[in-house]
């Protein structure tokens, strides 16, 4: 089975939020409050246990191609990155998080005991614990649908094909072509985010075409899976354990008589 993923081309996102709605409908994701956040048209805020797609809206004072326009609007549908080296999966102590035959990362809800370790482990702040449920939830890349040869609900609902689902290698090729096209057309800020297997998470299974720095969209500019340094962490802990025992020996040595 080849690795499947998302390519989200934010240059053609129109901010309709059909992806958010389709995701909620298909996956029976509960509401996350009906708040007005005062962040442009974004009333979702960020990805959470109850928001598996999140459309960001950024209003920038910046001259754009049209003669009278001085504002540019960036819209981008964020989602779980389904990392090659997934921090959430690495630290999960129960084996609830697992890698599927499609190369995606999914929570088995009948096993998760709500320890919450995956929550701060994720370098993108994606996975979260659902308050009233106690377990963690995130995008499954519609594991049930893609197993039946269907595309994920968000990609299916996207009216502009900003969200594209498919074979990851093919998506990467297509994305590179799209960036070249945009840059040649004068959109010099266009760049891919998360497509490189050489990045800190070994490449994301869901990657993006962005028109500004990742942090403008609330994405980390150089995410690194925390377990990359784990062997060194264990070595430091082993040294500290040795010191712990050594100080114990030193404190008791030669003090047999009280």
């Amino acid at each position: 089975m080849s690795r499947m993923g998302f390519f989200t081309d934010t240059s053609i996102c129109i901010g309709c939020k059909a992806c958010e709605v389709a995701c909620k409908e298909w996956n029976s994701v509960p509401d996350d409050g009906f708040d007005l956040l005062g962040m442009s048209f974004d009333n979702t805020g960020m990805l959470s246990a109850n928001s598996w797609r999140h459309v960001a809206f950024i209003e920038q004072s910046k001259p754009v191609a049209q003669p009278d326009a001085h504002v540019r609007w960036l819209m981008s549908s964020d989602v779980c990155k389904h990392c090659t080296h997934a921090g959430c999966l690495d630290v999960c102590p129960t084996g609830s998080l697992f890698r599927t035959e499609f190369g995606t990362v999914v929570v088995q809800e009948d096993i998760c005991n709500g320890c919450g370790y995956c929550v701060p482990a994720c370098p993108y702040g994606v996975i979260d614990r659902r308050e009233d449920d106690g377990r963690v939830w995130k995008c499954t890349l519609c594991y049930d649908r893609i197993g039946d040869g269907l595309e994920p609900a968000c990609a299916k609902a996207c009216p502009t094909d900003s969200i594209q689902f498919g074979d990851l290698d093919e998506l990467r090729e297509r994305a590179q072509g799209r960036v070249d096209e945009l840059v040649n057309a004068g959109v010099v800020d266009a760049r891919l985010y998360g497509e490189s297997p050489d990045d800190g998470v070994g490449g994301a299974g869901a990657f993006f075409l962005l028109l500004d720095d990742p942090e403008v969209y609330g994405l980390p500019p150089d995410p690194v899976v925390p377990t990359r340094d784990l062997p060194s962490m264990w070595r430091h802990a082993a040294a500290a354990a040795g010191v712990f025992l050594g100080l114990g020996v030193a404190a008791f040595a030669g003090r047999r008589s009280r």
């Binding site: 084996g95 998760c112 320890c115 614990r129 150089d222 802990a237 354990a241 712990f244 025992l245 404190a251």
Partner: protein, 318 residues
């Protein structure tokens, strides 16, 4: 240093040059309850340190010290277990922790370590309180006493230090960056806090080694945390400022005071020993709560996430 404004929202996080999405955090803060998990960092350290003191007492023949340390160790372990189960989103599924063994998950390693530690810690208490044991088994327990004390100390060295890896193996900037020093901070804190408990509980004529260990542990903790705070620079800020920084400053002051009282009064006066012990015990708790809070704070401010990552990209490092 300037700060770019995005989306018309004023960011309350100056100092570093970075952009953000309406000043919103990039990361999710831990869902762990501070009382449960910072509390566990403390009680787990006490369970480990008292096991080490019990082993020393067993070998050097100090029965009162051994008894109080063994009872303390199991009590601290019981509190630890209760706190850990209580913090789960699904406490009734706590046994899923032992469903697999995963070296990539410090929490999995810790679950197995704590479970293994419970056995010799339990035998130690059975040895001290024979009425708990059916009569025919008492001889067996007696014979296991010393091996149990030794294995509890050995496993305890893991229990005292793996919790640092537990915190560092996250994306919380102030925890992750601290991984070279934090295991030493936690080892020192476990030693001085446990030795403090020994000073409070054991008679002064059996507490000579505990007094030495209190000083060793305090020196380790304070020197490792000084090094950590200075090396970390910007992401070390939560260890120096905010409520977390105040707790850590108070912890250091109490530790130094505890060591001073240990050196001057604890040998001669029971009250002095109790005072010194209480200071060190309290300092150990403050250290754990301070370190816990520092990591949480670092997830809530996007500057700690974006700033160092931008700098890394600028310097072409990875």
């Amino acid at each position: 240093m300037t700060e770019r404004r995005r989306g018309g929202e004023r960011l309350m996080v100056p100092k570093a040059e970075f952009s953000s999405y309406y000043g919103k955090p990039v990361l999710k803060p831990p869902v762990w309850e501070e009382r449960d998990i910072a509390g566990y960092l403390f009680t787990g350290g006490i369970a480990a340190g008292t096991a080490l003191l019990a082993a020393g007492a067993e070998i050097t023949d100090r029965p009162s010290l051994r008894r109080s340390m063994r009872l303390s160790s199991l009590a601290a372990l019981a509190v630890s277990g209760a706190a850990l189960v209580h913090d789960l989103g699904r406490p009734e599924r706590f046994a899923n922790m032992l469903r697999v063994f995963k070296p990539t998950s410090p929490m999995s390693v810790g679950s197995w370590l704590l479970s293994a530690f419970a056995l010799p810690a339990g035998i130690g208490v059975m040895d001290e309180v024979p009425v708990l044991v059916p009569r025919p088994l008492r001889r067996v327990v007696r014979r296991l006493s010393r091996p149990a004390a030794m294995s509890a100390a050995l496993l305890g060295s893991g229990v005292a230090t793996y919790t640092a890896v537990l915190l560092c193996d996250t994306s919380a900037p102030s925890w992750h960056a601290a991984y070279p020093e934090l295991p030493f901070v936690f080892a020192g804190s476990a030693l001085s806090g446990s030795a403090g408990l020994a000073l409070m509980l054991a008679p002064t004529n059996e507490a000579g080694s505990a007094r030495a260990l209190a000083v060793f542990g305090a020196v380790l903790e304070v020197s490792a945390s000084q090094r950590m705070e200075h090396r970390l620079g910007f992401v070390g800020e939560p260890y120096r400022e905010h409520a977390s920084g105040r707790k850590l400053k108070a912890a250091k002051a109490l530790t130094v005071a505890g060591v001073a009282v240990t050196a001057v009064l604890a040998r001669r006066s029971r009250a002095g020993a109790v005072l010194a012990g209480a200071a060190l015990f309290g300092a150990s708790a403050l250290t754990r709560f301070g370190v816990f809070e520092a990591g949480v704070i670092s997830t809530k401010n996007p500057a700690y996430t974006v700033g160092p990552q931008r700098e890394r990209l600028r310097n072409g490092q990875r």
